[in-house]
């Protein structure tokens, strides 16, 4: 690991002043940053530790029923709070389907949103990678595309965004609150991560030195709580990143879908919301036919790996089916799994 200076920020102003200096990275839980520093993919000269910033380690319910989640709230605390899990169940299920108990205890809300792709060429400084080292090329092109984007990629980069949490956040219309030298600004989470285009190194909308202070969920997002699921296909049932995942949420009135939300993980460089699928579902009956049509709409234009595209369609239809059946009373024993968790053999 390259040597660095360590600064513990005691206030937001101090963090912003220090964070704006060249070669600086913010340190939250460290579960992604330290990992990348060990491989040499990240080489900051200064770390500004933001874990002690006052007030960012809690959430607040807002008067209108929305939720404001501080950037330092740990993934496990967010997922295990009973009120939050009841109000935004797909978020709890997405969080609990990700990483491990130990990692979720350390990982923060802001860090999860900011985590880098798991493209292994990105993590390996010996490989060409436009995202890590602009202009060096993309080692993933021409290889097996199973773990890569089938939507939203470019000639420069086909990496996927790895976060489970972000998929649920995108579906819930979350808003990212950002602090910078010029004060506070905000942006929808669905636009926060940038598509690679010709500049994959840009990752997100954050300018150098800017900091995520909170993620906000609007009150309207709670309207989906009775029909909300997160499903995640991966190479093993637990402790693996998504091959394909989907957050599906429905508002059903008088047997008809009044409003639908559908977002994917694992198939695109950012959490992938599907407005076309959502439009197709509005006013439709919550049945297999509607869900199959919505899944087709969601993957229209996808390319790169036929089996993965087929899998994504089936997963979307299944997630919608599970959502229509109703949110389980509690996050299932195997969060995000298509298995029901009845394999106990102790």
């Amino acid at each position: 690991m390259k040597p660095f200076d360590y600064i513990r920020a005691e206030s937001l102003d101090q963090a912003l002043a220090e964070g704006g200096k060249p070669g600086t990275a913010y340190l939250a839980g460290g579960t992604n940053l330290l990992d990348l520093m060990k491989t040499g993919a990240a080489r900051p000269e200064r770390l500004v530790d933001i874990t002690r910033l006052p007030g960012l380690d809690r959430w607040e319910w807002q008067d209108d029923g929305g939720l404001r989640i501080g950037a330092m709230v740990r993934n496990s605390d967010l997922a295990h709070d009973p009120d939050i899990a009841a109000t935004f169940p797909a978020m709890a299920e997405a969080l609990l389907s990700g990483a491990s108990g130990q990692l979720r205890n350390a990982a923060t809300t802001g860090g999860n949103v900011m985590q880098h792709t798991r493209c292994h060429f990105f993590a390996d400084p010996a490989s060409p990678c436009n995202r890590r080292a602009p202009g060096t090329g993309c080692a993933a092109q021409g290889g097996d595309r199973r773990g890569f984007a089938v939507l939203g990629g470019s000639d420069a980069c086909i990496a996927t965004h790895p976060s489970d949490l972000c998929v649920a956040l995108a579906a819930l219309d979350a808003v990212v609150e950002i602090a910078g030298p010029e004060g506070l600004r905000e942006t929808p989470l669905a636009d926060f991560h940038l598509l690679p285009g010709t500049r994959p190194e840009a990752h997100t909308q954050l300018a150098p030195g800017e900091l995520i202070v909170a993620i906000r969920l609007p009150a309207a997002a709670a309207g989906f709580r009775h029909h909300a699921r997160y499903l995640k296909l991966r190479d093993r049932t637990s402790f693996a990143f998504a091959l394909v995942s989907a957050a599906a949420m429905l508002r059903i009135e008088n047997g008809v879908i009044a409003e639908a939300r559908l977002a994917f993980g694992g198939i695109a460089p950012r959490p992938w919301r599907s407005p076309l699928a959502e439009a197709a579902l509005k006013g439709a009956r919550p049945d297999a036919e509607s869900f199959a049509l919505a899944a087709e709409a969601a993957l229209a234009g996808a390319a790169g790996h036929d089996a993965k595209i087929a899998l994504a369609k089936r997963l979307a239809a299944r997630a919608l089916t599970h959502a229509a059946q109703g949110t389980p009373e509690r996050v299932p024993a195997l969060p995000g799994s298509v298995h029901r968790g009845e394999t106990a053999h102790v």
């Binding site: 040597p3 360590y6 990483a99």
Partner: protein
């Protein structure tokens, strides 16, 4: 520039001066404080061998920067037993064959202690397996590990009722 941090490790307050901020909590424990019970498997958050409790919560010590944990209370496998009396989770791992080579075991046990404190899995074997999925066992002693965690959950809840 050197940095000084204070940690309470297994109940003892320790002041440590680091000449280099790169030290992880894992390397601090093993290489500077010689608490080698905590193991290094992958050093990348993928195996759980390095699991310790920080302020009562299980974390991967390999992905924790020591300086970032200044002021924390750390519990390692060395801090579980009370004299010659094993912690109920330790005793359950022995009683239920929760190990073979033993390399992953300190991490498994610390993870189980953390899992039981989180009170999410209860006596559901499927929730226990899921909750322990951050701890890989190369010997695949998983069946014994699940039994041990179930038994320890029961023992600890009995103890809590008596207390």
């Amino acid at each position: 520039m050197s940095h000084t941090l204070t940690l309470t490790i297994n109940g003892t307050v320790q002041e440590v001066t680091l000449d280099d901020p790169r030290v992880t909590l894992l390397d601090l424990l093993r290489e500077r404080l010689y608490l080698t019970g905590t193991k290094k498997g992958c050093d990348r958050g993928q195996c759980g061998a390095c699991t310790v409790l920080a302020n009562g919560r299980r974390i991967n010590a390999c992905l924790a920067l020591a300086l970032s944990h200044d002021g924390a209370e750390i519990t390692t496998i060395e801090g579980l037993a009370r004299g010659d009396t094993l912690h109920p989770v330790q005793a359950a791992f022995i009683a239920h064959d929760g190990m073979q080579c033993g390399y992953c075991t300190p991490g498994q046990i610390m993870s189980a202690v953390g899992l039981i404190a989180e009170a999410q899995a209860g006596a559901d074997p499927e929730r226990i397996r899921e909750g322990m999925s951050g701890n890989i066992c190369r010997c695949a002693a998983y069946a014994g590990i699940t039994k041990a965690v179930l038994a320890a959950t029961e023992t600890l809840s009995q103890e809590a009722k008596r207390a």
